[in-house]
Amino acid sequence: MIEQIYMLGYRHRAFVGLFLLLVTIFTAAGLQRLQIDTGIDSLIPADDPSRLVYQKVMREFGTDNKTIIYIKDANLWTPEKLAKIEELHFAIEKIDGVNRVDSLFTLHTVKGKGGKIVSRPLLAASPKTEEEALDAKKSALANPLYQGNFFSENGEVTAMMVSVIDAEDSNNFSRTIHLTLEEQIETYRSDFERIAQVGPPRINAELKNSLYEDFILLGPLSVVVLVVSILIFMRSWLSAMVPLVTSLITIIWTFGALGWIGVPLNILSAMIPSLIIVIGSTEDTHMMSAFLRGLKENPGKNSRREAVKYMAKHIGLPMALTVLTTTLGFASNLFSNIGLIQQFSFAATFAMLANGFITILVMPLMLSIFGADESTSILKDMERNSLPDRIMSVFRYSQVRFPISILVFTAILCAFFLFQASKLYVTNDPLSYFPSDRPLIQDAKRIHEDLAGIKIFFISLESKQGKAFQKPKNIQKLADIQRFLTHQGVYDGSISLADHLQFLNHEFRGGSPENPLPESRQLVAQYLMFLHRGDLDNYVSHDYRRANIVVRHNITDSHTLNQYIEELQEVIVKIAGPDMKFFIVGENLMVNKAAESLMTAQVKALALLMALIFLIMSIMFTSFKGGLIALVPAIIPIALMFGIMGYLDIPLNPGTAMVAVIAIGIAIDGTIHLLARYNELCRRTSDYDDAVNTAVNDEATPLIVSSIALAFGFGILIFSNFTIVAQFGALAAATMLFSIFANLLVTPIIMTRIRLVGLYQILSMSIDPKVLDGSPLLQNMSNYQRRKAILISELHEFEKGELLVKQDTIGRNMHLILSGEAEVIRRDGNESHSLAILKPGQIFGEVGYIRETERTANVLATKKVTALRFDYERMQKDLKFFPNIVAKLNFNISYILGERLADMVAKSKNK
């Protein structure tokens, strides 16, 4: 069945070609519908319950989505500079989509001195004289509410807060706002020492630009790397062209399908073309290797056709399995509650499946047209290629000389790296997606240093009582929480209603050094009459039932932030008391909280994937040991990878979190090919060590070539504009190299200690059931057990006239005839006597099997014979691998011998 599917492209070229063309045209039409989503929203779990609370708090206290325009100048407080800031303020206010601009021209201040109260704008308009400017500076720096938010301590920096609202919810809103703001800023750039904007529109716009740049850079770079690696290792243009064609079709299918379905591209999608090109090429490499082997084994007239058939037969099922496991690796993230990962996972899963399907159709089709007709030196060159050959010579030497030491060393290495992995931490901060030397990050750092971090969260307290936050005792709670925030020492600052009231009290009391809160509810209410509602929008609800503390920070480590937030929660519970509810919310917090779920989701995905692989491999090789062995080359690279992350301080983020599952999915491919080959070889020999060596020899080159090509392919992702993609690429590349070590050094040592039988071999076996039913050796066994018993034996074919057993020789094996006919002939001197004719189902040589003795007769094939050989030594080995089957076989042999003894006794009595 599988072979027939693989042969479709060869047998029905026109039909397959037309089908591929039509689907490609259809999917290509979906490309224009592709959407790009670089919004922060996709980093927050859709089912996060705090999302609703966050939205409610945002509605009430205003958005945390603000762009900060940072202006620095040593002579900021001069009429000329302030006039420029004023111009900029009003120019920005005119921009479509700008909802509100807060700057030193909208700030309000209250000043008290000698029984006078001045309540006025900080600067109603730009000052005309130096004195006015300096007076404004004095007022601005004296107001604790504004320091750190709008002004730096030394007064050289001021900030403008721009709130934007995307009324039409347009796709390009962020980019348009960012560019328009940038245009305005550019006009004034020469007027100040430094001026820059930082906020969601810029972050979003830069994410999008970087995504486009990645698409343009990474795809072509992957192509170059792939072509060069394949040419170096395989020295065949066709081997390089086939993966390019399959990758190109896959890319069109994938992105076209995403367009039709409506799944947007995000920053992780930038690596999909590279993944398709690189991962997709590994299957092509294995298939091409099999085709070349096929040519070598089938020289002659129809060599190309036979080689394709050989390829289909030998690579068909392993390839289906590897496509399945690679796809599972990507699919394990499908259920992530983080949109960014889920969308990427969907796209990558689709791409891997599509690539497998396309490769199965395209590879035979292309081989049928461009494939070689005779074995060339390519295969030999490949096998003798210096790098894989050198690697293997080192590995072979180590395996033979120090098998146990290698296992112990590997275990110690894994333990060490797992210890390093304990230092792992998570982060989901969008700013950490960019490299630290990027201007955006530098600007954010400057704002943090001169003012306060650009990240904001709110602590919202809610009382059941109306006007609760006019009561001094409740306002005191706000102040107490803020005191604890200061005590935690990790935030840049916080502001609440309490700060406003402390400031007012301070000014009304003539600037007394102590700033206690107003002592009565009436005084609170009467002070607040000096403020506009707009001044308090962010801090208290209109009915004074809810109050809000605005906290600014610059923490990038999600785990640390989450820990501080947990600590804060515990304290607020005590401060707020039972009558008051509280919420700590912020987009930034939700994103960071999602990082924690990222960690647990990855552990779950990893466990699920490993369980699935274990299950699939156990079924495929009808052995739990097979399943366990398949996991070894997956676990070792992952342990090393996590260790390196811990050692090099690389955080777990949406990019690096996926390496483990994806790498397992890919690394297992080599193991599958290795195990499949070993299993195939075990059918031909009873020397398992030799079978392992041969399997490793056969698979080493494609495995090393594909792993190195994968490492190079992933490695090019370090050129990505996104740190998370670059980290993903570097770690995945390292994991691919580790998988060579695991697959070719460690796995073979374990393989020699096991014997596998493939389920597909059992199911695909075609033997006349009458033969099996009639054979005394297979009595009282289920059909499945009979098939498995057959598969742990050796299959041999004998031409007519060939001896199956030679008289007077010693051989510790017996045979079961599956087809054909043989004659037992005893030779006494020059005379020969035919003792019996053996038919399918009958066995012979059972005495030699039980006891080392000379054969008493020849067994000659009178027709072409297919027979199974049960070797004593091998059966003893297999007893530990397949105890039930071997025990049944031994029982049946005892039965047969018992019957024979009884016959002989009966015959002697009769005589």
Binding site: F90, I117, R120, A125, K467, K471, V524, R533, H542
Partner: protein, 294 residues
Amino acid sequence: MKLLLRSQLFFLLSLLISLSHLQECIGFTSSETTGAEIMEEVDKRHKQFPYIYEEQSMILVDRYGEQDTRKARRYSRVEEDGTVRFLLLFDYPQEVKGVALLANREPDGKTNKYIYLPAYGEQLLESADEGNGDNFLGTDFSVENLTGEILSDHRYVRRDDREVEKVKYFVLDVYKAKNTSTKDRILRRHFIQQDNLYITLTHHFDKHRRIARIQSHHDLKEVDHDMLRANMILMENMKNQHQSLIKTSRRIFSHDYVPLEIFTAEWLYENYPHIEPTEEIDTDDPFDKKETTE
């Protein structure tokens, strides 16, 4: 017959009066009339009564449409020497009861403003807005917006008349008197209804000649012959998207309601003494009764 003659005579007299008034209006609407002349006529027609007592509700609406209501009593009194005294005394919410804004405008135009906060202590705090004409006590109004402007302090430039929904308006731009060039900063633009010479709409401009606030007068009531008063004054703050609405529910023109003594600190301290800190207070609305206008 006598009755008929008397009624005919009354009709003719009324007709003559109307015609004379019409002639006055026709003459007034001439395009040659200056802005200052129009404002003088507006002032004359709707000049401030010397003694006014009003009960008002102030509704403050924020950008999200949330409303805060305050109730206050407004006293104003014009002395013979031209001094204008103004007292705004808050009654509701209970927390701000007794808060007062006391303003005196001297004949020379100098205005002093004081604030009394009973919860703060028995002390008048001088409120100095430093000539910015900024709003008071969290509303979008300045004191000047409510007391009316002094004509001599300003220069009025007449613009083209406008007609909106069949109502004709004079349009006057207001500048500071000391400025003579039209390039100077425009303070506000009055829209004066031609049929009643009442300023029903004023655009207040910021330094950049943008409309910062819009003041509109509604529910006009004739209080004495042609003299009108608005029972509702709405101020819209365009920058902050606030609205402040003053609704007058009761108005009395009487010397008895506005005695001179209430414009003193002593009267305030006596009637609204310092409040000692308490947590719970009565929040009943003292004006929770049917509104009337006298």
